[in-house]
């Protein structure tokens, strides 16, 4: 299966994901779910981690999102936007988590720093970049940047998903890139 682990933008990936939905819906669930999981886990997890800043919650979202896809794959209407559909599910799960956090007094600690430190599959350079994304950018900037970069959604699709004007999305996106570039260039000096 041709599939980028980080971005899903090509038509072949889109067709593969849609085929997985079709296979799951027609009862050939397990192998198709496995393919889908391997293809989308980094996007879903990366997005959830950026929203929640907690690895346990991000893992929960990844888990629940896959189960949700498994049970509702038959309701996906092929429109060439399977990642938008998946990310909408993940986003709703993240928002549920954030709402649940606001209802309890004890707010879970952000634990992503420790997780990154222990994760040997991520290089030091990439750890720095993830850290900057999670600390330097505002919540809005981070969400918009990662929705575009990781899941390949267009700015107008992000605008529709987050119920904001496309111009706002574009300006926040550019600001996020500018902030990150400035910090990375400063560190390189």
């Amino acid at each position: 299966m041709i599939c980028l682990t980080s971005t899903i933008t090509g038509m072949s990936e889109v067709h593969e994901i849609e085929r997985c939905f079709h296979d799951i819906a027609s009862g050939n669930g397990t192998p198709a779910l496995e393919k889908l999981y391997n293809c989308t886990k980094d996007v879903i997890y990366g997005y959830a981690l950026s929203m929640l800043k907690n690895t346990h919650d991000a893992e929960d979202v990844l888990h629940d999102c896959c189960i949700s896809i498994y049970h509702s794959a038959d309701r996906y209407t092929a429109a060439g936007k399977p990642m938008a559909w998946i990310i909408t599910i993940a986003r709703n799960l993240c928002l549920d988590k954030l709402r649940a956090r606001s209802r309890v007094v004890e707010i879970p600690e952000e634990n992503w720093e420790q997780y990154l430190e222990l994760n040997t599959s991520v290089s030091v350079e990439n750890k720095v970049l993830i850290e900057k994304c999670l600390t330097v950018l505002s919540d809005d900037e981070r969400e918009i940047l990662l929705l575009h970069v990781l899941s390949g959604l267009k700015h107008r699709e992000i605008a529709a998903m987050t119920d904001r004007p496309t111009a706002t999305i574009l300006s926040k996106y550019r600001r996020a890139l500018k902030k990150l570039r400035a910090i990375l260039e400063e560190e390189d000096r």
Binding site: T5, Y37, L49, L62, H63, Y70, S121, V149
Partner: protein, 54 residues
């Protein structure tokens, strides 16, 4: 560094970040698939009153 380069860097950084939880996902899906609710035959209501003599 132009925008495209930076975007690629970010995408690469987030690749391989997710833990492998495939087994627990597959297990959860199998468990839910195997959960069957047995539907018993609905009892027919019996008439409480005898029909009026014609």
């Amino acid at each position: 560094m132009d925008n495209r380069e930076l975007e690629n860097k970010i995408a690469t950084a987030f690749a391989n970040i997710a833990p492998d939880t495939l087994d627990s996902v597959l297990q959860a899906c199998d468990e839910q698939k195997g959960r069957v609710i047995v539907m018993t035959e609905k009892k027919k209501r019996t008439h409480l009153y005898a029909p009026l003599p014609g």
